[in-house]
Amino acid sequence: MKMINLKINGKDIKVPDGKNIIEYTKDLNIDIPTFCYDERLKSEGACRMCVVEVKGMNRLVASCATPATDGKEIYTHSEEVIKARKEVLELTWASHPNDCVVCDANGSCKLQDYSYEYKIDSIPVYDGHKRDFEINSSNKFFEIDPEKCILCGLCVNVCEQLQGLDALGFSERGYKTYVSFAYNAGMETSNCVSCGNCVSVCPTGAMMEKTEDIFRSWETTRTRTTCPYCGVGCQFDLVVKNNKVVQIDPAPGTPNEGLLCVKGKFAFKFINHEGRLKTPLIKENGEFREASWEEAYSLITEKITGIKKEFGPGAFAGLASAKVTNEENYMFQKLFRAVIGTNNVDHCARLCHASTVAGLAITLGSGAMTNSIAEVKGNDVIFIIGSNTTETHPVIGAFMKQAKAQGAKIIVADPRKIDLAFGANVYLGIKPGTNVALLNAMMNVIYHEGLYDKSYIDSRTENFDKFLESIKEFTPEMGAEICGCKAEDIRKAARIYASGNKAAIYYAMGITQHSQGTNHVKSIANIALLCGNVGKENAGINPLRGQNNVQGACDMGGLPDVYPGYQKVFNKEVQAKFEKAWDVKLDDKVGLSLPHILNGAYEDKIKFMYIMGENPVVSDPDTTHVKKSLENLDFLVVQDLFVTETAQYADVILPASSYAEKDGTFTNTERRVQKIRKAIEPIGESKPDIVIIQEIMNLLGYNQGILTSSQVMDELALLTPIYKGISYSRIDEVGLQWPVKDKKHPGTKFLHEGRFSRGKGLFSPVDYIAAQELPDEEYPLILTTGRVLYHYHTITMTGKNKEINEIVPANYIEIHPKTAALYNVKHMDKISVSSRRGKTIADVHITENIGEMIVFMPFHFADGANMLTNSALDETCHIPELKVCAVKIDNKI
């Protein structure tokens, strides 16, 4: 790299060539004032605050937009520079309302700060025309006040370049210019997704969050922590006043690079919600009453001891949680394995990525995202199949759009024409459950056109010949027939995917939630191996994990067949290791998985269940069956923030503290173990899950010291090879990606470099097998389910935010106009929909973005989609077929 010499404020430095002046001043800790500059964006050079003096040049230059060249002598705070900056401020101030005393941004406004720093007169030198604009408050979460806008353009550029939306723009010109949604209309006519990233970058009070809380920045404290919603693991600061979270600000750097989505930024009202559980509740005569911790604990321990005596440890089952910390999940499975004595521990990963864990473990040796989130931007081909990324993992979706803007090609395969399908190079509107047919047809093209990576196949994989038999005859025409798309599009997609040197596949529930889920995942592995697209930087197989800590809950052994770190319970060596560490005898039989736990409860085999932070009454398929199963238990303990639909069935409800009230770690979708930090005191008498579990362990007679989360991490790191090198001191600033092999190991950015975890990549012949329940005369429609941007899972958290509920208030069903015409239903009609298992009500949303005779329903709402879904299971991993079932429209209501 070419080096250049610079002299900045008299100091000589030698630096690599290629950056603008401002970048080099940062290294020297010189503070250059800016309004429009953001290192993530193309230089705008609009505000002129960053001007500097360069010796030999006859004018001041904008340091953000001027490349530094060899030998330049630069002055950042010379008299002339100061004068120019003052001039810029005077001019800006001239048309800015002089209302700081009542402005919400007071204390966090750059214009105010710089005016103070550069000693601007309180009376404008240029008595400019104050502009006369109306406040645009059409967005539910923030408002735009163009009078306070200094036209730096950050909001417009962030929306365009980082979020990939362009929902905001400049209107008019010159003096009349203002920032607005298109046509100066409301946000509802634009493609705005309320991510709030514009609000986060606004240097003044022009874009302000709507808030009922009044606070000044100096009255608040800030605590860096990890978002509790999806698996991206965004870092942000909780802004707290008087033990109440009043705002959330995105943090720069890994992994979200200062971006958030509507949930992370605005949906935090659940933390201090009045409905939070404040004491334990005990059910008496069908009614809950408040109780003390002592009373609740003694009832629980009494029941555990009694039931264990009568029925043995096999009558117990526990649901760990993808929402709580690693340390808490570790302790939860330890409670079940070491204290109660059963491996009947599972959690909702069974419903989302069980097939990934199984399918990728078989083929590659490790069931997690092979690459990092940051690598998305380095992809040259992005193949999105069965993931509505911009809604379910919004920040990764934004990175995909950034990659596209850089020239990456996009392939989307999904039954719905999702946001990313617009402008994609190929969109394949496949029928739900036909992934294998599509992938086999694509591989057929890749093979027959010679686009596969022969040397990679020879050196790094096995079983290729056998696999070849399964795809050799499977033509694109056959695939097109099954999938309901065009053969030519399949060819095009195959050629694009095979052409990529850094091609990555991103998938989610559209691949996994099928009775053939494991095979769908194997098929994904096949195509990546065929093209040599795994085990490299920027190329790989990326299952996007849904929940903040679903990766961690799996890693921590919240599964019936493995101890922490995917160590099998039936492996004698492993068993001996844990027996020694926990000082107990352990069961070597694989426990029951979630669907079998519920079936066991239904059939009287499971007597006692302990559910921590999960809501199976809403999230699991066939709600009616779930309810009957829970009703049939002898005793149910539910530990949660609120009285959820599941908690209604409990005998004791324990109040848990939210993520804002405790320390711990979450592991995000890219295997990065990141810290959460306590920002407020626990609400009411609630306790962090980790404290509750350890206290119960002691009451049951197990000698468990009450450890802090940091100490628990130290304990589990000793027993979990992939977490071996992790400790709180190492992950304080940036989290580490497992495997972290020892205390010096830097973590693993991408997996399978040079060698697969299992040795060689395994090709698996996979034949297309249709979903178990297909449409027939009685139930002629295919129902598929999914998530929406604004809500999160069973809406226990997002549903506590008024604005979110206004945007997505109730269950709905997406129907193609032709299907709607067939049933004579109109947009926003309320209809009854039923399947062989139940019935639900939904508002009709008519859209052309879904195939004919296919309908979509979000699974967020209680007694909604999961009244209908099929609980048919995948044989290998027991994931239910949530994505495909047959339904009919009964009638309008």
């Binding site: 209107s171 008019e172 617009f422």
Partner: protein
């Protein structure tokens, strides 16, 4: 929002205009100009169509439309009157000419008359300063216009 371009016209616009420029580099300006020429405006429905077809956001398109005075959201009059307000014409009394036209046509600078016959357009220097004050009516230039003869010049256009 009122619509000025019907569905059939939109389909024609897509076929004849958008498809013509679609693969050119930065085709937006030409497409917007064609709309202005065809319909006398670039209304929301046309902007939405361009947005969908070219994958450019409406905020960006509307930014361009509202930036240039040659584009309007509502149809302009049958005849465009451009009273030059450049420096030379200003000295020659362009402001008086503007007032005269405003009074005579009962409209305001930058607006269209109720009968849709005239638009009194914002006009900067048209480059023929030696013959000021200059008034453009559609493509025809009228030189050395004064507040005495401006009404006579307009007269023939009133009926057309």
């Amino acid at each position: 929002m009122e619509e000025y371009v019907n569905r059939t016209q939109l389909q024609e616009f897509e076929n004849n205009v958008i498809n013509l420029y679609r693969d050119k580099q930065s085709p937006l300006m030409q497409i917007l100009q064609e709309s202005q020429k065809l319909y006398g405006c670039v209304p929301f429905e046309v902007q939405n169509l361009i947005s969908n077809e070219l994958n450019i956001s409406t905020a960006k398109i509307n930014g361009v439309v509202s930036f240039y005075s040659m584009f309007s959201l509502v149809p302009s009059g049958k005849h465009i009157i451009g009273v030059c307000t450049g420096t030379a014409c200003h000295v020659k009394g362009a402001q008086r000419l503007v007032s005269r036209v405003e009074d005579a046509l009962d409209t305001h600078y930058g607006e269209t008359t109720e009968d849709g016959q005239f638009t009194l357009a914002h006009t900067r220097c048209v480059g023929d300063c030696s013959k000021g004050a200059v008034v453009m009516i559609d493509d025809k230039m009228h030189s050395k216009v004064t507040s005495d003869n401006i009404l006579d010049i307009l007269e023939p256009y009133r009926k057309q």
